[in-house]
Each structure stands twice: as C-alpha cells, then as structure tokens.
C-alpha cells in the first residue's frame, strides 16, 4: 500500500544534507511551510541554497528563522524585503543573493518540474538583470534565455493531503507550492488535514501524488491577519 505520510517532522526532514538546495513554498504569510522550516532551522544544517519568493518575515518563524540561524548560504528570490534576519546577513556579507523577476522565478521552477531545461522570456530584457546574458530575437522581439530551476528538496504547505500525496491548497496558499512540488527531487509536505484516499475528487487534486514523497500532518492553524477594513471604509 502506498502511504507517504510520515509520523513526525523529524522523519519528514530526514536525510537532508549540508549544501542542499531547497525550494520553499508560500507567498506572504500564506502557504508557508513554517513547521518544516522551523525544524530545519534547528537542525544545524549549513550552506543551504534556498529558492523562495521572499526571504522570510518574522525573525523567529519559518524562513526568517532558518536564515537567522545561519543555515543559508544563498537565496534565490524575487522580493527579499521585510526580513530583518536576511537584511542583517546580507549587509554582513554572510549570504549571497540572486534576484529573479517573480514571473521568471515561477516559470523557471515550473520548467524544472516539467523537464524543460531552458526557455526565453521578455521579462528583464534591457535591464541590469540581463547584463552580459544571452538574448535572442524571435519574430522581431528580444528575449532573455532563462534556465530551469530544480532543487534537492521542496518544502510545501498544503490544506488537504491523502496517503498518495494528492494535495489541495486553501485560498492564496497555492502560490508557488504546486510548481515547487513538481521541481523538488524530494518533496516534503506539511498538510493541515489528512483525508482518506478518494476524499479529494479527481477534478479537485491540484498537486498529484506523483510529485510528493513525504507528508506530515501539521494542523498549524490560520496565518496572521494583515489588513482589514476600517469603520470609514478604508484599510488599516
């Protein structure tokens, strides 16, 4: 019987080596695999390359904590702002940064998962991010060559998971998670709910189990709320 559920976070993370490349799902506070990241931060691993949209937010939680603990040698991301631990490490020269436009980042990861080693994109052409890099004119427009991204590990947060590793996400929690699940050589999922096989209808599976290696049950609760309407109708 196929059963990808593991008993705890330690088992979920077993076998990750120093120097590993790690895809980390999530956008803002939603869809972040924080339980996995927290444990990874406490693991003492070093020289990780992390690929994520952001570089964490709270210094004690998730990616911010992983960086604060000195586990990360290099970040590949589109928007590393709002993370005091990243800021400190970057200014001190303790962490490398590769900035990638968000859509290029998403497409490079999707390409990695889909077996497409490289592709062309109009994004960043003529900017400093394209300096010295290969471009190609196709039908009169200039495009930049971009290479696929894969990684040793993908860390994913899902809403529901079954024993085959089929996944759904909640709200904007999909974000990078489904494509990172595709691009990880070892894809590890923390899921809010474990459901029986068949409970996720065939039309509703967002990430197919064949992309998933391990699932750990983490009923983590809701992400923090950032903005609500004021009595006057604006936003706070």
């Amino acid at each position: 019987m196929i059963d990808k559920q593991v008993k705890d976070i330690a088992e979920a993370l077993s076998g990750i080596a120093n120097g590993a490349s790690v895809l980390v799902g999530g956008f803002g506070a939603v869809g972040q695999p924080n339980a996995l990241l927290d444990a990874l931060g406490d693991s003492g691993l070093t020289d990780l390359t992390v690929i994520a949209n952001n570089a964490g937010f709270e210094p004690d939680i998730g990616l911010g904590r992983l960086i604060g603990k000195g586990c990360v040698r290099k970040m590949i991301c589109s928007f590393p702002r709002g993370s005091s631990t990243f800021d400190a490490a970057y200014k001190a020269g303790r962490i490398e940064l590769e900035v990638v436009p968000q859509g290029t980042l998403a497409e490079r990861i999707r390409a990695g998962g889909a077996g497409v080693p490289a592709f062309y994109t109009p994004a960043a052409v003529g900017t400093q991010l394209a300096e010295g890099r290969e471009t190609r004119v196709i039908d009169g427009r200039e495009y930049l060559l971009e290479y696929a991204l894969t990684a040793d590990i993908a860390l994913v947060e899902a809403w529901r998971a079954d024993r085959w590793g089929n996944l759904t996400y909640r709200g904007s929690g999909r974000n990078f998670n489904p494509i990172m699940a595709m691009a990880g050589r070892l894809t590890i999922v923390q899921a809010q709910h474990i459901v029986p096989l068949g409970a996720i209808r065939p039309d509703d599976v967002v990430t197919q189990g064949l992309f998933v290696n391990r699932v750990v049950h983490v009923p983590g609760g809701d992400p923090p709320v950032s903005r609500v309407a004021t009595a006057e109708g604006g936003a706070k």
Binding site: F27, E107, V125, G234
Partner: protein, 220 residues
C-alpha cells in the same frame, strides 16, 4: 516655500489620482494593480462597472477590503494584504498567474514609478545600482506583459526633481513599456513622439507643467 510662492493650482491627492485613473478603465478589463498607490484604484472603480482584478499570487476577481468579520486569513494580495473574492473569482498557482501576465492576457497593469522616460522606459524597482537590498518582485514581468501599462506617481520627487524624463537615470524595469501616466498634476500618454498631455489640474499652466517635467511636452 514662502507665502509669496503659493501655487495657483491644487495637486490631486492620492485618492484623486486613483479616481482619475479608475474612471478610464473600461468595463470588462482584466487589471493588475501594483503594490502601494495603484492599489487605491480598486476603491474608485464605479460599482456598476465590472472590472476583474488580478493578483500575481494567484487570484482573479478580488473584491473590496474585508471587514474584521469577513476577513479570510488565507487570502492575501501581492501586497500581502487581506482581500476578498467576488462572484466569478478563481484561484491558481504562480506559474499560471504569470502565464496570464506574460502571455498578454491582462488588459492593464498600473504601477508606481521612480522615473518614466518619454519613450516609455520605466524605472520603478531600485534607485541605485547599490540599493539596500535589491528586490524586483513582479514588476518586470507585469510591465512587459500587460497590454497597457499605466503609471501612477507624483509628478516630481519630494524634493521637486522631475520623475518624467528624457532618459531614465535609475536602473530600468522595462524598455518602452509605459503607455499612460497619471500624476498629481496631469494625465499624459506616452506617444511615439514623446509625452502627450491629455489633461491637467485646474489652474496649472503649460509652462508650469513643463517646468516640472524633464522632457518636452505636447498637448492633445
């Protein structure tokens, strides 16, 4: 500024710029509103006009800012603010979201800017080659992908330097991307021959506007 220099015009405030831009968005357009000032546009789209709002992180069909009661912590926009969904909304992943953007399926994105050049070049992601921490987000993808790229910005910097220029000094976000600009003073098209003023605030003269702009202006 001394009393003798009192301006003969009133600049549009942020909400007025947003309202002016919102008025120009036709029904049925698919629109991405950038972080910050452009987000305000959503509040000013006439309620009887269906405009579908897109967010890079996988949402099409965002609604008004939620009240404390209706907030869903699992639903945020690209600015990491909690949002609502309208009927007809859909959720999808980042690669599909940027397929919409890069594939030319958005009618419009509205972005902020540090500088816009008269050929439509946009600089809005970093003000130096040695910024605190470089961070680009989705601006490069949006500005090359959307069918129309509008900029919302103050006409000058806080210390009075023009943001509409002959040639950008700051690092580019995209070349020849911007199609229209909404400032606190005027609305301008980026035409094949440079900036074309569509309208400007009452009391402002052409000479004053030209004095605050570092590229030649023409008038529609």
């Amino acid at each position: 500024m001394t009393a003798g220099n009192a301006k003969p015009y009133r600049s549009r405030n942020k909400n007025e710029i947003a309202r002016r831009a919102a008025a120009d968005i036709p029904e049925g357009w698919y629109v991405n509103l950038g972080i910050g000032l452009p987000t305000l546009v959503a509040d000013h789209i006439p309620p009887d006009r269906e405009v579908v709002l897109h967010s890079e992180n996988g949402i099409l069909g965002m609604g008004p800012v939620p009240t404390a009661e209706e907030v869903d912590p699992w639903l945020i926009n690209a600015g990491k603010e909690n949002v609502t969904l309208v009927e007809g909304a859909s959720l999808f992943h980042h690669a599909d979201s940027f397929a919409m953007i890069r594939g030319g399926h958005l009618d419009l994105c509205v972005l902020g800017a540090y500088e816009v050049a008269q050929n439509g070049d946009l600089a809005n992601w970093t003000t130096s080659f040695n910024d605190r921490v470089p961070a680009v987000g989705g601006a490069m993808d949006l500005s090359v992908g959307a069918r129309n790229v509008w900029v919302m910005t103050s006409h000058t910097t806080k210390d009075g330097q023009p943001k509409l220029v002959e040639r950008c000094n700051y690092p580019l976000t995209a070349s020849s991307a911007v199609t229209r600009i909404y400032t606190d003073l005027a609305v301008l098209d980026v035409s094949p021959t440079g900036f074309l003023v569509i309208d400007m605030v009452e009391g402002l003269t052409r000479e004053m506007l030209q004095g605050l702009t570092a590229a030649p202006l023409r008038y529609a």
